[in-house]
């Protein structure tokens, strides 16, 4: 669970922009991130901060109109700008995805077994029969009861949580090095959510898969992640080990996110949740300034004049891009409750 070994996935200075009718929209700006073997990294941020775009760009799944620069290396092999045929060999076999809506993400007219088997047929050259047999094993692995019957069922015959387990079974079918889970629990209720997170943890422990989990839910991050990356308006604004981040958020945005989340022991009346005013801006280009400045209580001239670099204090692996980082924990309550 440490980052000591060489990273499986190295993202360096990844930027993504989309041409639209009203001009270019910059979705991701200079994102760098490492994922070590067997590590679970959480990526958190509001809607529209570039989390999903980052996730999709890893295996080149963005639409053709997207302009992607920078570098994504899987075990040293460059994926940005790689040929489509090379990317197809990576997708589903080395980098697998789980998406938010298990209902719509599964094909309604194909059996569960067929959809899982498909991955094995294309990547492992398995026969249809062998793939089906393996699908049963995989369904058992992700905790689906009576898998031998379920394998011939259709997605609509399963509950939301079961469908998401099918998605996971499909994702881990070829034993991928990296699992990208884009809001895997958002559409599920809390008890089901806990079950899904447990499945992901188990798979990491058993198969050594690295997981990049994307969410806007700090509770999920706290539950499962080893390290956290906080994104804001397309940039990484803070990166830290999970306990460190919750105890001592350094970026003003992270602190704001934490004080906007309910915690046990905090009650309305004595300790109200504080929201961050305003919305994530949609940027045509990335300015040389802190993009959070307009919503930040501590912003001054410096924040609007230059983009703060992502740096740590005293060489720790806790880094933040803020000219005026929080020194003491401003939300002591969260630190205490962790």
């Amino acid at each position: 669970m440490t980052t000591a070994s060489a990273p499986v996935l190295e993202i360096r200075d990844l930027s993504v922009s989309f041409p639209t009718e009203t001009g270019t929209v910059s979705a991701v700006d200079g994102v760098s991130l490492d994922l070590a073997a067997g590590e679970i990294v959480g990526m958190v941020g509001e809607s529209g901060c570039g989390k999903s775009v980052t996730a999709m760009s890893i295996a080149g799944l963005l639409p053709g109109s997207a302009r992607v620069t920078g570098s994504v290396r899987l075990d040293g092999a460059e994926l940005v700008g790689a040929r489509e045929s090379a990317l197809r060999r990576v997708r589903g076999r080395e980098i697998a995805y789980i998406f938010q809506e298990p209902m719509t993400s599964l094909n309604p007219v194909l059996t569960v077994g067929r959809q899982i088997g498909e991955v094995l047929q294309v990547h492992e050259r398995m026969s249809r029969r062998a793939a089906r047999a393996r699908a049963v094993e995989l369904l058992t692995l992700v905790g689906i009861p009576s898998a031998a019957q379920r394998v011939d069922g259709y997605p609509h015959q399963l509950s939301g949580g079961m469908r998401q387990r099918v998605m996971i079974a499909m994702a881990v079918a070829c034993g991928p090095k990296v699992l990208v889970a884009d809001e895997p629990t958002t559409a599920l209720d809390v008890t089901v959510q806990a079950g899904i997170l447990q499945v992901l943890r188990d798979l990491r422990d058993r198969l050594g898969t690295s997981v990049l989990i994307i969410t806007h839910d700090l509770g999920v991050i706290a539950d499962i992640a080893d390290r956290v990356v906080v994104m804001y308006a397309g940039r990484v604004v803070e990166r830290a080990p999970v306990d460190d981040l919750f105890a001592h958020p350094r970026h003003r945005y992270t602190a704001g996110l934490l004080s906007a989340s309910p915690q046990p022991g905090r009650h309305a009346g004595t300790d109200r949740l504080t929201e961050i005013p305003g919305l994530v801006p949609v940027l045509a280009s990335q300015p040389d300034a802190c993009t959070f400045a307009d919503r930040c209580p501590a912003a001054d001239e410096q924040c609007r004049a230059a983009a703060p670099p992502l740096e740590g204090i005293g060489g720790t692996d806790h880094v933040a891009a803020c000219w005026h980082p929080c020194t003491a924990a401003p939300t002591a309550a969260q630190g205490a409750n962790r």
Binding site: V90, F99, S105, P108, M170
Partner: protein
């Protein structure tokens, strides 16, 4: 599944019975006494009475209806007023022509339409889509009687590649039969292809932007597998619906094409019957058209449940 089938079969039978009643009542509600029309010059009460007795018109309506259904079940649709030939024998010559023309036309239309529709959706915003859209617009806006006339002019009269009119039964000479039917089938099919193309394209665009297609791509499937197995399979409901409606329409509606190419089909028979007020023939035509729609609808519903497993569940609560 079996239960779904039974339900649908039962519904179809009921619909057929209802259409029979409508046709029966409709014909009898027409003004004028059929006995008077049949009597001709001799309009003595005795003659009229004899005619009524002969055709069963003196019986109460429910009895007449029962007899009517019974006769139809035996394939007896009565006798044409104008020609005196049994309607059933007219049908046995006319129906095969129309069925062959319709099936051939719909096959051509489906092949062209689905192919072009998928291509237009996959190559969105590129020349292939513009070409497919342009051709579809032409297919929709050019009346096919005109297209038929052009085809006769250039491919039959000028070059002699195809016969301009006429029909040879398939059992008599299959090659000659195809030679006669291919041109009208292509002309008929191209217009229908345009509609199928449009519907396929829009259904495919929906499917291609869906989450399950994103999943399929993320699995590393080849584009062909993504397009056919995932996107097209989910678009087939739309395609089957359109094709089914068109086929039903063709059985009764290939009138213009049959007229132009001089094919002795169902459409031509209908037109002649309408102009000559040949009620027994009209009655049979209306009923058969209704039956064709009902049967096709039944098969379309059957196909729905094959394509989409969720539909099986709606009809089968078990």
């Amino acid at each position: 599944m079996a239960r779904y089938l039974l339900t649908r079969a039962w519904q179809s039978a009921l619909t057929l019975l209802l259409s029979t009643i409508v046709v029966f009542v409709g014909v009898r509600a027409l003004p004028g006494d059929p006995a008077l029309a049949l009597a001709g010059e001799d309009r003595s009460p005795e003659a009229l009475e004899a005619i009524r007795r002969h055709y069963g018109l003196d019986q109460p309506l429910p009895v007449q209806f029962a007899q009517y259904v019974e006769r139809m079940a035996q394939g007896d649709f009565g006798v044409s007023i104008r020609t005196g030939t049994p309607v059933s024998s007219m049908l046995t010559t006319a129906l095969p022509v129309t069925v062959e023309l319709s099936v051939l036309a719909i096959l051509i239309a489906a092949a062209l339409g689905v192919g072009a529709g998928v291509l237009a959706a996959v190559r969105r915003g590129r020349p292939a889509e513009w070409l497919a859209n342009g051709l579809a617009l032409i297919g929709l806006s050019v009346p096919h009687f005109w297209l038929g006339l052009l085809a006769i002019l250039y491919l039959s009269v000028a070059t002699g590649l195809f016969p301009a009119s006429g029909f040879v039964p398939i059992l008599e000479d299959p090659v000659d039969n195809l030679h006669h039917i291919v041109l009208p089938a292509v002309i008929l099919g191209t217009g229908l292809a345009a509609i199928i193309m449009r519907q396929t394209r829009s259904a495919m665009l929906d499917s291609l932007s869906s989450d399950y297609v994103r999943t399929a791509k993320a699995k590393g499937l080849r584009p062909r597998a993504v397009i056919t197995r995932h996107a097209l399979r989910n678009s087939l409901i739309v395609v089957v619906t359109v094709v089914g409606l068109q086929l039903g329409g063709l059985i009764s509606g290939a009138v213009v094409t049959e007229q132009i190419f001089g094919l002795p089909g169902f459409g031509k028979m209908t037109i002649d019957a309408v102009f000559q007020r040949d009620y027994p023939v009209i009655q049979a035509v209306v009923l058969l058209t209704a039956a064709a729609y009902i049967v096709i609808n039944f098969f379309v519903d059957l196909l729905y449940s094959v394509i989409d497993p969720r539909i099986r569940v709606t009809g089968d609560p078990a």
